[in-house]
């Protein structure tokens, strides 16, 4: 096999860079002779100069082909000697040819070509389609495929015979109700199992709550409870407990079948929670992370500093405590000693809101335990027996005669599956009912020095509404004091106040 010095040296260079070991090629190639090396260097220099002049990289392959076409009699598809631009990568068709004049004896090559091989050895072009970006139709189809695959996975490896989840939520109309209830609603809408949502509302059934719930598309049972929500946290906890018991009575009456869980409207649930509770047989307990919110940042840092030198205070967790053989031995409860005397009493206090010893939301129970006239285990008290006796029930453990039968879920309480958080606005804070501003706002004083030219007074009212409404909800709670001065045209005056505030801010910026 006669190789021209050019090709031989090129291939040898490639071999060198590939394996990092020089000149071990034993296929009969001798060492590079010096004239060839010098010739190569000169060629390299010429190419560099040409590249400098032209401004782009000039491939030495050009010479390869010029030389090899003259020396070999190989039939080759004419190669378009297009130098490689760094930017233009749109060579549409393949530059497939027999580039590196491969060298075998022509007989060998033609035998390969004659057998129906698609594959040609050598340099190929990089095929790029005209618009190498995602196609939305394909993306949609791919997502549907992924959904189908995940559904199949869930069918095979997920929970077999999933049970209905019965979520119990006590709520009442207040500023942040929409915020909290929408959060819970979205979590429940994502649950892949059948769901019944029992919403118990303090006071009476209102349109506001109904309109929020109606957006869920879930099966809901919306009932009212004939008592207004008191202003103190303690009163609120007690009333909520009674509302939950009311819901349990509904479960009993309707003979709903499934797993009852307590989804308080300001809690945050993880999706794994709903998978875990499917396995409960009687009553189960999960770990709840307690997020104690304090408006005063100094207070929060001065909190659990029992040990000196610890940097970040750990989040307290309520839930079952297990020993090493995964049996329930006790409960982790919230330690309220550091907060003694500093906790919030009224709902709009700026002090940290403390949870109770054991929150209802950390417990789940099978609905059969609540039915009457059904075989129940000994350790469950009948719901009717609790009627009227003393309805101050702090936690679902009061429904049991002995607390040791509770099943710890979430790998024995090691997984925190939901978080408890209480954030409320002032009780007298005003907000538009259903968060809809009706009737639309009037034109207010136009602000000065805006980026757009001064608008004529005859503006349609829609635009001003859209500009101002962004400001309203955020500034609302703090401005509520000043809004009370003018009772009659309350809302518009607020807007005026806010509007001018906004303009002053924008001037300062």
């Amino acid at each position: 096999m006669k190789l021209s010095a050019l090709q031989q040296s090129y291939l040898n260079r490639r071999a060198n860079s590939f394996r990092g070991s020089p000149q071990l090629d034993s296929s009969g190639d001798g060492p590079i002779k010096s004239p060839a090396a010098i010739f190569w260097l000169i060629l390299h220099g010429i190419c560099c100069l040409i590249s400098l002049v032209l401004g782009f990289r000039f491939s030495r392959l050009v010479f390869f082909f010029l030389v090899s076409t003259s020396s070999n009699n190989l039939h080759m598809v004419p190669f378009r000697t297009a130098p490689q631009f760094t930017g233009s990568l749109d060579f549409q068709s393949a530059l497939t040819s027999n580039p590196q004049a491969n060298i075998d004896n022509p007989a060998n090559r033609t035998t390969i070509a004659s057998s129906t091989s698609r594959v040609i050895v050598g340099r190929h072009g990089i095929r790029i389609r005209p618009w190498p970006h995602p196609d939305p139709v394909e993306v949609m189809k791919a997502h549907q495929i992924i959904n189908r695959v995940q559904r199949e996975q869930r069918l095979q490896f997920g929970v077999k015979n999933p049970r209905t989840v019965i979520a119990v939520t006590p709520t009442y109309v207040r500023t942040f109700q929409a915020l909290h209830l929408t959060g819970v609603m979205h979590s429940l809408m994502l649950v892949p199992y059948d769901l019944v949502w029992i919403v118990v509302e303090a006071g009476r059934v209102t349109n506001e709550t109904s309109s929020i719930i109606a957006k869920s598309g879930l099966r809901t049972i919306h009932v009212g409870f004939n008592q207004r929500m008191p202003n103190s946290w303690e009163g609120r906890h007690k009333l909520e407990a009674r509302m939950r018991l009311h819901a349990l009575r509904i479960v009993r009456k309707e003979k709903l079948d499934g797993v009852v869980m307590f989804a308080d409207d300001s809690n945050m649930h993880s999706m794994e929670l709903f998978d875990e509770i499917q396995s409960v047989k009687g009553m189960g307990a999960v770990s709840v992370g307690i997020l104690v919110h304090s408006a005063n940042t100094d207070e929060s840092t001065s909190l659990p500093q029992g040990k000196d030198g610890e940097e970040a205070p750990t989040i307290p967790v309520q839930g079952p405590a297990c020993n090493s053989s995964n049996k329930l031995v006790g409960w982790h409860t919230f330690n309220s000693l550091p907060y003694a005397g500093k906790g919030a009493v009224y709902i709009d206090d700026r002090a940290p809101v403390l949870p109770q010893k054991l929150e209802w939301s950390g417990f789940v129970l099978h609905s059969r335990l609540l039915w009457k006239d059904v075989d129940k285990p000994d350790w469950i008290r009948d719901l009717d027996a609790l009627n009227g006796v003393d309805e101050d029930i702090e936690s679902p453990l009061s429904l049991l005669k002995e607390a040791s039968v509770v099943e710890p879920l979430g790998s024995c309480g090691r997984q925190v599956l939901l978080w408890w958080l209480r954030v409320e606005a002032r009780t007298d804070s005003k907000f538009p009912p259903r968060w809809i501003i009706d009737p639309p706002l009037d034109i207010t004083v136009p602000s000065k020095r805006t980026p757009w030219p001064d608008a004529p007074p005859e503006l349609p009212s829609n635009e001003k509404v859209s500009i101002s409404t962004q400001e309203q909800p955020t500034k609302h709670s703090t401005k509520s004091r000043s809004s009370r001065s003018r009772r009659s045209r309350k809302r518009k005056s607020e807007i005026k106040v806010i509007g001018s505030q906004f303009s002053t801010h924008s001037e300062q910026n």
Binding site: M1, L11, R14, A15, S17, F18, R19, G20, S21, L24, D25, S26, S27, G28, S59, L61, Q84, L89, A94, L95, Q100, N102, I103, D104, N108, I112, S115, T116, S117, R118, V119, V121, G122, R123, H124, G125, I126, R127, I128, R129, P132, H133, P134, D135, E138, V139, K141, A142, Q144, I145, I146, R148, V149, Q150, E152, Q153, R154, Q156, F157, G158
Partner: protein, 416 residues
Amino acid sequence: MDAWNRVFLCLIFAAILCTSSAVQRGGNQPTERISGSAGDVLEDNPVGRLKVYVYELPSKYNKKILQKDPRCLNHMFAAEIFMHRFLLSSPVRTLNPEEADWFYTPVYATCDLTPNGLPLPFKSPRVMRSAIQLISSNWPYWNRTEGADHFFLVPHDFGACFHYQEEKAIERGILPLLKRATLVQTFGQKNHVCLKEGSITIPPYAPPQKMHTHLISEKIPRSIFVYFRGLFYDVGNDPEGGYYARGARAAVWENFKDNPLFDISTEHPTTYYEDMQRAVFCLCPLGWAPWSPRLVEAVIFGCIPVIIADDIVLPFADAIPWEEIGVYVYEEDVPKLDTILTSIPPEVILRKQRLLANPSMKQAMLFPQPAQPGDAFHQVLNGLARKLPHAKSVYLKPGEKILNWTAGPVGDLKPW
């Protein structure tokens, strides 16, 4: 009384049978049986169907090479070493060469590694030639058939062509002395000089323990559509592009680098195996050679392999129906890869996943230590057993010579 007893026993027996089969079906993911063109052969037991005689070569051909560089046990070509160890203690081994159907020569030709761990094939032809000279002069079995009932393991880049560069490999062709032997190799490409007819293709070696320690729960939903980690441009050896992978990997990058469905990159994360288990499709494009260990990894982790290598012959192609398990894409169709993959009907995709979940499929791709039934060692023996009985023509008449002992480049003829 006696009849009643018998009936009772039959009933109990039937009940036991029913429950055992139900347990097998109901417990795990439903899988489908795999039957290739050779039939339902993945679970065949080769013991008793063939006998292999292992030549006793001096340790300079095997043990000493391994001692010089023990890294050979972990790289992609480690199959040749593990096959030797398996055969030494396997029930198919016979110590009587007269009754053997196949003869195995344990020579580790891919164990000459660079400091980086890449094998140098430059001495391999001489090593092989020297081994063959030894066995032909010390035992009469080579000359009887000129190697037609011998098999060799040549798991290098281009098999018995003994070179890593394709053009050089084609130029050399298969070592002339191995022209009649059966070759067991990882390389497979149709109508290629380096794939002899009758060769057995095996998967590259991938460490089974390492993969099994990275298994995650099957409940975790598969959320990545296409996954690939590896080079697209080999800047060191092919700076201008177009040579490496025949431009196919570069085409994948240029067309899909900003596509959110394609999780492709050159960075090798520590969660590589876990990510494969969260993907629906795994790309297995060619590199410098058409085969890749990604195929093994994809099969173990249940990710449908997308094979982008024209004319490739996949491992155990007669026993495993790869068209039903993986997706073949022509290199020229790479720009349309997203269209191709999204147009596969979901039922087909689910069926492929069921086939991949078959434990015999996963087992057939592995070389576990010690060997287990159904693994790649046994598939090789099954393949050899399927080639039996030897045709009468393999036995040469006395004085007949077919092989040319002086063919090949001059450098190969130097003794080793």
